[in-house]
């Protein structure tokens, strides 16, 4: 299963792509595949504050509804409004065009609570057993 090398990951299958003081957040290939066709994304409000591992957004698929948790704390500075009419972008391009929110990070140290790509790949192997 595809994993992006320089991203960090949560056990709930969210990713974060850190670039200096800001970061993009989304869900992983494993998550989109398990959810199936995504039909709705509830985006967070711009300027809202979010804590690490707290609810950031929600997605609905043809199979289920599930919450998306923020990999790190910060302020939401941009959301992917393309998902309003094209939620399937998450299925098609979960690591790039299907990003959910851009966050201004509160504390870069929090990334030590996340998995690296190599750790996440190992974590996935454990799930497949």
């Amino acid at each position: 299963m595809e994993v992006m090398k320089h991203y960090f990951y949560t056990k709930e299958h969210e990713w974060i792509n850190i670039d200096g003081e800001t970061a993009y957040v989304g869900i992983t290939e494993y998550a989109q595949s398990a959810l199936g066709d995504i039909t709705f994304v509830e985006l967070p409000k711009v300027d809202s504050e979010v804590e690490q591992f707290e609810r950031l957004a929600a997605v609905e698929s043809v199979k289920a509804a599930s919450d998306i948790f923020s990999p790190m704390s910060g302020k939401v500075i941009e959301v992917n409004t393309a998902l309003d009419s094209k939620p399937e972008l998450i299925n098609k391009s979960c690591f790039e065009n299907g990003w959910i929110a851009k966050i201004e990070l509160a504390d870069e140290e929090e990334k030590s609570n996340l998995m690296t790509a190599a750790e996440y790949e190992k974590f996935l192997e454990g799930l497949e057993e």
């Binding site: 199936g36 066709d37 039909t39 709705f40 609905e60 043809v62 199979k63 509804a65 299925n91």
Partner: protein, 369 residues
């Protein structure tokens, strides 16, 4: 109805074929069934609405009943009149418990003036068999042929075109009729029935040879396998009930929107219970509604009025690829007149606006072309 069961899950003869095709398999009504194939549920819906899909329905149950419908006791087992059915036609009905609750919904096939096939839900085969045996005049007139019967559903606007070479004469079948055909050297029943709202057929074929039929059908590029996920969306778009969600032992057919399949001019098991409920006032009714957004109602969501009053619960809900909105059915308090008023689905924390809608949600179905 996704359910956890204590007994080991059963597999249809096509289980390995589904795994080889990369299907995701889930427990359903005691069976391990494909929920989707790698193309995904929405793509399978689109395939069914525009071309044709192949569904493994070997899990469903089939009974044979011999004899005159009145003398055998069969007529009294179903809510619809069956004595007036022409031979080679099908009829939808329900069978009720003493309280008027629904034991199962089923389709009656009149094979000959005195011979019948009853097709029942997979999860209810044992319960139905017991109910039939206890009400038929003679056990000898009944046979559960599910163990030797396989079934495939071919559904979609191209279904007839796809089958016409393999099933010579299929063009003559009208909606809800059937006949015996020679299919790959086997004499079998093919009916023009289905659960998707599209032109479609169900083929009853020897179970031990069903893999041959499955593979032969998939040689045609216009037909692809589809799973329970697509089947559920397609049937909700048509407003068709699913036993275990929209129908169960505690739901009356007159609550579930099945009034036209209940003939109160005849006698049937459960009629007394049903009439008693009717006299004291039926308490609930089924409504059909459309979300105002892409958000979909889910089974067990609550239904609220604008003032926050809880008035019922969602029995089936899904995202409709046709409407690009959430759609669903709900059982609500019958006394409430919702005309023109918005309703809300969800829970106390999260309420999503919706509007009443008519059945079917999907109005372009090809089932009667």
């Amino acid at each position: 109805m996704l359910s956890h069961v204590d007994t080991p899950l059963k597999q249809t003869p096509l289980y390995s074929a589904h795994i080889d095709l990369g299907a995701k398999v889930v427990p359903f009504a005691g069976w391990q069934m494909p929920v989707s194939y790698p193309s995904g549920i929405l793509s399978e819906c689109q395939q069914t609405r525009t071309l044709a899909s192949l569904f493994d329905t070997c899990h469903m149950g089939e009974f044979l009943v011999e004899g005159d419908c009145f003398q055998s006791g069969l007529d009294a087992l179903v809510t619809a009149s069956i004595n007036d059915m022409p031979v080679k036609t099908c009829r939808y009905a329900v069978t009720l418990n003493d309280n008027g609750g629904i034991i199962d919904d089923l389709i009656v096939y009149r094979l000959a003036p005195d011979q019948w096939m009853i097709v029942v839900n997979a999860g209810n085969i044992d319960k139905d068999e017991k109910h039939f045996l206890s009400h038929l005049k003679s056990e000898k007139s009944f046979k559960n042929i599910s163990p030797e019967t396989g079934k495939l559903d071919i559904q979609g606007p191209l279904a007839r075109e796809i089958l016409k070479d393999m099933v010579k004469g299929i063009e003559k079948l009208n909606y809800y009729s059937f006949d015996h055909f020679d299919v790959l050297g086997e004499r079998c029943i093919v009916s023009r029935t289905g659960y998707t709202g599209e032109l479609g057929f169900e083929i009853y074929f020897p179970r031990h040879k069903i893999n041959i039929l499955w593979e032969r059908l998939l040689e045609n590029k216009n037909i692809k396998p589809a799973g329970l996920g697509a089947r559920d969306i397609l049937r909700v778009e048509m407003g068709y009930s699913l036993y275990g969600q929209d129908l169960d032992d505690a739901i009356l057919p007159l609550e579930a929107g099945l009034d036209k399949f209940v003939d109160l001019s005849k006698d049937f098991c459960g009629k007394d219970g049903l009439l008693k409920e009717k006299q004291s006032g039926i308490r609930r009714k089924m409504i059909y509604f459309c979300s105002e957004s892409r958000r979909a109602p889910r089974h067990h969501h609550k239904i609220f009025q604008e003032d926050g009053r809880e008035i019922g619960f969602v029995t089936s809900g899904t995202f409709s690829p046709f409407l690009q909105k959430g759609i669903g059915f709900a059982l609500i308090d019958r006394a409430i007149d919702l005309k023109g008023q918005p309703i809300f689905f969800g829970d106390e924390k999260n309420k999503i606006a919706a509007q009443l809608a008519g059945r079917p949600f999907y109005k372009k179905g090809t089932l009667k072309i």
